[in-house]
Amino acid sequence: MKYKLELVDLEKSFSNKKVLDKLNLKVIDGEFLVVLGPSGEGKSTLLRTIVGIENLDSGKIIVNGTDVTFKPPNKRNIAMVFQNYALYPNMTAYENIAFPLKMARTDRNSIRSKVDQVAKLLNIEPQLNINVTRLSGGQQQRVAIARALVRDPALFLLDEPLSNLDARVRYTSRQELKRLQKELSHTFVYVTHDQVEASNLADRVAVLHNGVIEQIGPYNELYEKPNTQWVGDFIGTYPMNFIPGDLMGYPDSTIGFRTRWVSEGNDITAKVTLIENSEGNYFVHCKTGDSDIVIRTDTKYNVDDTISFGLERFNIYKNGVLEEIKSGNSVASSGINDVDN
């Protein structure tokens, strides 16, 4: 398989705090990879080290098969869209987009044709001659993306580019970004803490935790088969429910299940503490033993009801690591797919 970007044993610390701790990651040519992690886990630092504006303590960065670890940012052939877009405020949209081409000493005519082309692609032709500070947030974001696209680099890094937009614009921008990436078959590495963005955009999601990629794979796989309890807790609008294994007859382990993996039955008995109504379903918060769990039901229960239910499927964790996946009432254990890297 051809990799656009390979990160080997990246290490980086800020004043004794390890941000990246021997991080390894391989990005496949043409894929949309989303790096997902809670705030403060070093997602932005990761992008900044890849692009070269932050120095590494140790490790190797390989872009398109070439080692770029010791090259300055302007020699790495990577484009990046910063969270605040970092548009040049003294320039018009056109000048902003043309800037990378100007730096690459492209001749005037091909600059014009390339900028026009990318402006058409992103629907910002009418705004080209306006100073960027006078554009709306959505338009500024398009200009920032256009500036990245215009160069045709090996790799695109995007640092939460949608986080400054309001909800409606964010929704349309998300669709557009995905469409662009597929149409141009570029390789995107996209950093976010937003689960919805990750599940909608990503071909693969890499979960960053404690300075390493804790798990990587399609969002559904992360959702259903989290390799560790931490990933299960982090992925999903509702964290995975965890109860002591004794309840189901698995001593010394923990049972993990999603809100919707419940069925008729009486494996678990719990007391309702809170009910949330969300788009036609009820999310019932309840307490069984010492564990707080949330299940999705169609029935409206009342607070303080005692309910019992069965589990359609569940994962068994030992010491926080996935051990076995049980689905249905049969004890068919499916092997955990060891995803490449």
Partner: protein
């Protein structure tokens, strides 16, 4: 008329009158015949006769022209040197953590807390040795001491006000350090550059202590003006004083738009 700002307007007007009154006296002395000003015990406060005689006399007397030219050269040297030194200093300080750069800036201002005379005399002794005594560039270098801290402070403020990732973005977009400074940073710090240049220019224009100690024989304009006043020729002096006040007034009017404090705060949140 109800106006909440009324008291502050009244205070502003009183202050303005207090500050403008000396200038008004200067104008009276410059344009009135001597008989109506200095020859009277109680000079008239309102102009009766308009005359250009004092002006003619002062322009005929060429001995003040040279100091003015000297002052102009010194002021421009001080201004240019200020931005040439303060721009890289501010740029570098901005890369440091604020707790370090703020301390360094503070240290620079400490120099200005000492009386100028204490520093001027050892400097002049040294300048005699290296041949900068009685030299306009000697004056410029000494005056740089006064203006440089504030220039660095203003430039640091300018750099701090820049969008955070703009320089990184320029690097990612393929610009070298030179190009990113030339094409991206420089256009964004034009105003702080202008302010530090003009403040340095103005400070040098009427600086007295260093000028009189470092170059008493070839004096700058404020020093020779003092000579004239003390020799008892205040009419020529006041005409000239008026002439050199005009550029300062022009500069202040130009600056006014930018002297709103955001650049003078050094980018520090108070």
């Amino acid at each position: 008329m109800k106006n909440k700002n009324m008291p502050s307007y009244i205070i502003a007007i009183i202050l303005a009158v207090i500050f403008i009154y000396p200038l008004y006296i200067l104008i009276l002395i410059a344009f009135e015949p001597i008989s109506l000003t200095f020859d009277r015990l109680y000079p008239y406060q309102l102009p009766f006769i308009f005359t250009l005689k004092n002006f003619e006399a002062s322009i005929k007397d060429l001995s003040l022209i040279k100091p003015v030219i000297r002052s102009i050269i010194v002021a421009f040297t001080v201004g240019i040197l200020a931005i040439a030194l303060a721009t890289p200093a501010g740029y570098g300080l901005n890369k440091l953590a604020a707790r370090f750069s703020n301390k360094i800036i503070m240290l620079m201002f400490v120099v200005n807390m000492m009386p100028a005379i204490v520093i001027a005399i050892p400097i002049s002794v040294y300048f005699i040795k290296v041949g900068l005594y009685n030299n306009i560039f000697g004056i410029a270098l000494a005056q740089e001491l006064v203006v440089l801290p504030i220039s660095v402070f203003i430039m640091l403020g300018g750099f701090r006000a820049l969008p955070q990732d703009i320089e990184n973005q320029a690097m990612v977009d393929g610009a070298s350090i030179f190009h990113s400074f030339r094409n991206v940073i420089l256009p964004l710090i034009k105003i702080p550059l202008l302010i530090s240049f003009l403040l340095a220019w103005m400070t040098s224009w009427d600086e007295f202590t260093y000028a009189v100690i470092i170059s008493p024989v070839n004096p700058t304009f404020p020093v020779s003006l003092y000579d004239y006043v003390s020799r008892g020729e205040p009419f020529i002096a006041s005409s000239f004083a008026l002439l050199v006040t005009i550029p300062v007034i022009v500069i202040v009017v130009v600056l006014q738009k930018y002297l709103k404090g955001e650049y003078l705060s050094g980018g520090m949140k108070i």
